[in-house]
């Protein structure tokens, strides 16, 4: 029944699943839990830094040729990278959560982090774009007195030090919620209510000075994000933008929800809470994988499999105290030092990053994992995302870019292998309503 099983429900896995489904494959996604987008800014970071250089990358495309030949971007090549980014822009439009490229063609945005550091971002969510620090427009950062982990004055201090004229204001939380305690997701739900938008909009209008733009924590609505943002901007009479928060990340939750609803339209089931605990391989082919249940393992059979379980952060790798370091599903060869003393450099924040985070699964140009001799490991296995070798995405600020580019490339390659390169079908089936999404949809 199923052509392709994608293991992992992060940005790489969801991208691969959607790409393969658009190419006509019957796809299923199994994930251990929900993904790392829930603690990311949910911007599309393509390439922000090239360690050990400290300066942010302004023009990622002209920097690409300097990356090592084993880097996933070099393996994919510019053509496939641009196609993947275009796919993502289309999805974000179709899902009602538009992302945009920077004002200058091919250049990164410079967006403020939750403590006012500069983050080089290639595609920004519509709600974050007005925060671009390439513009000299003065900023007003607004927080709420009972909101944890968002400090407008700290942000303003750091931005001012970097030459961005910034003021800070802390408003009463009672403008937007009656709860004594609320996290970002709950506040975002509160801000979808009209009366809270009116109250906050009025307070913003009083606080803002002519010419300023207003930065708020990323809590401006869930499903109704765009409407919420625009209502606030209209009431304040000034541009309004979101600054990502500490987890839970509302922008990440929104992006996950949109990708899952696009998958639902393509009849792709995303099963959460299913951890792969066993595999069956025969004659160089993966036959099935098994996931843990409350009883017997559940077997999933398919023609092809795509591994997108992430790296150390996502849970795709595991290690022990003896220095063993392994890939958790297929035990694929990893080019990580198998000596614990070689994992880290003496400095925690070494400009070169840590060797342990640079290693991973080596793949060929079809994104098929390679064995230790450089041959394809299993004929029907592809891989994408944080588990790939040749890059340290945290250092590079390329986490989402690598997930997207490799996810799309691997999904395409799997589809081409299974369909013998038959024509892809780009149109969504018309009989499926678009309203199948909900902001909270774990199952």
């Amino acid at each position: 029944m199923i052509d392709l099983i994608v293991i992992g429900a992060g940005l790489a896995g969801l991208t691969a699943a959607l790409t393969a489904a658009e190419a006509g494959l019957r796809v299923k996604v199994v994930g251990k839990g929900l993904n790392a987008l829930h603690w990311s800014a949910a911007t599309l970071d393509l390439l922000g830094y090239t360690p050990p250089r400290r300066a942010p990358v302004r023009e990622p495309w002209t920097t690409l040729p300097h990356l090592s030949l084993t880097h996933p971007y070099q393996i994919a090549g510019e053509l496939r990278m641009r196609a993947a980014l275009q796919r993502f822009l289309n999805w974000s439009q179709a899902g009602g959560l538009p992302y945009l490229p920077g004002a200058v063609e091919g250049e990164n945005f410079m967006l403020p982090s939750p403590i006012g550091a500069m983050r080089p971002v290639y595609l920004a969510p519509y709600g974050q774009r007005e925060g671009d620090l390439s513009s000299q427009q003065p900023l007003l950062i607004v927080g709420f007195d009972r909101m944890r982990d968002f400090y407008p004055h700290l942000l303003a201090e750091h931005l001012n030090k970097q030459g961005h004229s910034t003021r800070a204001v802390v408003l009463s939380s009672s403008l937007i919620t009656q709860r004594s305690d609320a996290n970002t997701v709950q506040l975002a739900a509160e801000l979808e209510r009209r009366e809270h938008q009116i109250a906050l909009g009025g307070a913003l209008k009083s606080a803002v000075r002519p010419g300023e733009r207003i930065g708020l924590p990323a809590i401006l609505g869930l499903d109704e994000h765009t409407k919420t943002l625009e209502a606030l901007a209209a009431a304040a009479g000034a541009p309004v933008f979101e600054i990502p928060t500490l987890p839970p990340s509302v922008p990440g939750l929104r992006l996950t929800t949109v990708l899952r609803s696009l998958l639902a339209r393509r009849h792709v089931r995303v099963e959460i809470g299913m951890e792969v605990v066993g595999v069956q391989v025969e004659d160089g082919v993966v036959r099935w994988v098994e996931t843990a249940t409350s009883s017997r393992p559940l077997r999933h059979t398919a023609s092809a499999f795509l591994l997108a379980t992430g790296g150390v952060l996502g849970g795709g790798f595991q290690s022990d105290h003896q220095g063993r370091f392994w890939e958790t599903v297929f035990d694929l060869p990893l080019n990580v030092p198998q000596d614990r003393s070689q994992w880290f450099r003496p400095l925690f924040l070494d400009a070169e990053g840590q060797p342990v985070f640079h290693g991973g699964v080596a793949v060929d140009n079809q994104f098929q994992p390679l064995d230790s001799k450089g041959g394809v490991m299993y004929r029907n296995l592809w891989a994408a995302g944080g588990l790939l070798a040749g890059t340290d995405p945290l250092q590079e600020h390329s986490l989402e870019g690598i997930a997207l580019v490799s996810g799309a490339a691997a999904g395409e390659a799997a589809a081409a292998a299974l369909t013998g390169g038959r024509q892809t079908n780009e149109a969504a089936p018309a009989d499926i309503p678009a309203g199948a999404s909900a902001a909270k949809t774990p199952q």
Binding site: G33, L34, H38, W39, G273, P442, Q443
Partner: protein, 420 residues
């Protein structure tokens, strides 16, 4: 209850990376301030509950409904719901528990008592005056959707009466009916037996106890352990002999598979055999379908019946097998709910102080049902307490998917809830 072991659950605690995904999806903390969220009362508060600590920081863990959505979404495999269940058991062990919770934990006893004179029991408990009294004296919410006792005999009565007509076969399965089927909804058991016989299987119904889940969720671990030991004694031999043990109540199957062994640290051979042999009925039917052995002589059911997979079923981590089987029935439109929880969470929503929370949690699901339009005939759900909550929240009749399947086989009257 001097020692509540922490080993497996405690170990998973170390995996918590404080990412807050659980709190973002917790249906209870989304609607009330009284529950700060799974991360706070679970992994975060746990350090204060370690040995040698004077006391737990607060008792808000009592507001955890035990729906296990947190476990489902956790990216690192922390057993948050179990941490909370154990924390509640510790509080109960230290401070005791109200009579109400003792009663709600004992639905088998209640079922048996009421079945002596079900009509009288229904009248005694369902009239507005008694419900008001139950609210004031016991703290049982007057509006809460309590079940009614079957007035046409228990499931055991039917088993005795139908014995001569039931199928004999070399292929055998064991049926675990649970208390609700026994005393309140014997028709679920009849539909299940009919469907299993329709596949050519003889259905054995051995002596059995309550699975113990109501006791576990109310923090009475020792009493739950006694129930579980009895079930192991009655059924492990069937498991050992290779018979699948099939349930229609998702709370019972989850308890036999995972909750009892894990929360009670019962890892004896019999418990493990029972764990591995237990199936949700649709998981078993889906397995037959995968082997090409499922009877497919379906009559069309021209019904609009939105389906909600209950939290307890999702905690099995087997997907939504009932939905997959229902998709094979011609004419049946079973829109899939993605709501997190109906709110009732076993006995949670029966409690006066939690009734409104349960209704607010369920609103997402009730809203989904309303969005399906005027033409909805039934809502469909695998769990009994969730069906009662669905009926309460939507005013539409609710059915177990096995009733729909039995109807599609021409064995059952879906409206009258009886075999034909």
């Amino acid at each position: 209850m001097a020692s509540i072991s922490w080993h497996t659950v405690d170990h998973s605690l170390d995996e918590c990376i404080k990412c807050n995904i659980c709190t973002s999806y917790c249906p209870v903390s989304a609607v009330t301030d009284l529950f700060p969220g799974p991360k706070y009362v679970g992994p975060q508060a746990q350090r204060f509950r370690e040995n040698g600590q004077p006391q737990s920081p607060d008792a808000s863990v009592d507001y955890c409904s035990g729906c296990r959505v947190c476990n489902e979404v956790c990216p690192t495999g922390v057993k948050i719901a179990e941490i909370n269940a154990r924390a509640r058991a510790e509080i109960v062990a230290k401070r005791g528990m109200p009579l109400r919770n003792r009663l709600l934990g004992r639905n088998e006893l209640l079922g048996r008592l009421g079945s002596v004179a079900p009509a009288l029991a229904n009248f005694a408990l369902q009239n507005p005056f008694s419900r008001l009294l139950a609210d004031k004296v016991m703290g049982i919410a007057p509006e809460a959707p309590l079940p009614t006792w079957s007035t046409s005999g228990t499931f055991a009565d039917w088993l005795r009466a139908s014995k001569p007509q039931r199928l004999r076969s070399d292929k055998k399965v064991v049926y675990f009916h649970g208390c609700a089927t026994m005393y309140y909804e014997p028709f679920i058991g009849k539909a299940a037996v009919a469907v299993m016989e329709h596949q050519g299987y003889e259905v054995i119904v051995p002596l059995q106890n309550c699975c113990g889940l109501p006791l576990l969720s109310n923090g009475e671990f020792r009493a739950a352990a006694d129930y579980h030991k009895n079930n192991v004694a009655h059924m492990a031999s069937f498991a050992q002999a290779g018979f699948p043990i099939i349930g229609t109540s998702t709370s019972c199957t989850l308890t036999l598979q995972e909750e009892a062994p894990e929360l009670l640290d019962m890892t004896d051979e019999g418990s493990m055999q029972l764990k591995m042999a237990t199936w949700d009925i649709f998981e078993w039917l889906r397995d037959l379908a995968a082997k090409g052995e499922l009877a497919t002589d379906f009559r069309p059911l021209n019904l609009t019946a939105p389906y909600h997979a209950p939290c307890q079923l999702r905690a099995h981590r087997v997907g939504k097998p009932a939905l997959e089987i229902m998709e094979m029935i011609p004419g049946l439109v079973a829109a899939e709910s993605h709501a997190l929880c109906c709110g009732i969470a076993g006995t949670y929503g029966y409690k006066s102080e939690k009734y409104q929370i349960a209704m607010d949690v369920g609103e997402e699901l009730f809203q989904f049902v309303r969005e399906q339009g005027e033409g909805v005939d039934y809502t469909v759900c695998d769990s009994e307490t969730c069906r009662w909550q669905l009926e309460h929240g939507t005013h539409l009749p609710s059915r177990h998917p096995i009733e729909l399947l039995a109807t599609a086989y021409g064995l059952y009257d879906l409206e009258k809830r009886n075999l034909v």
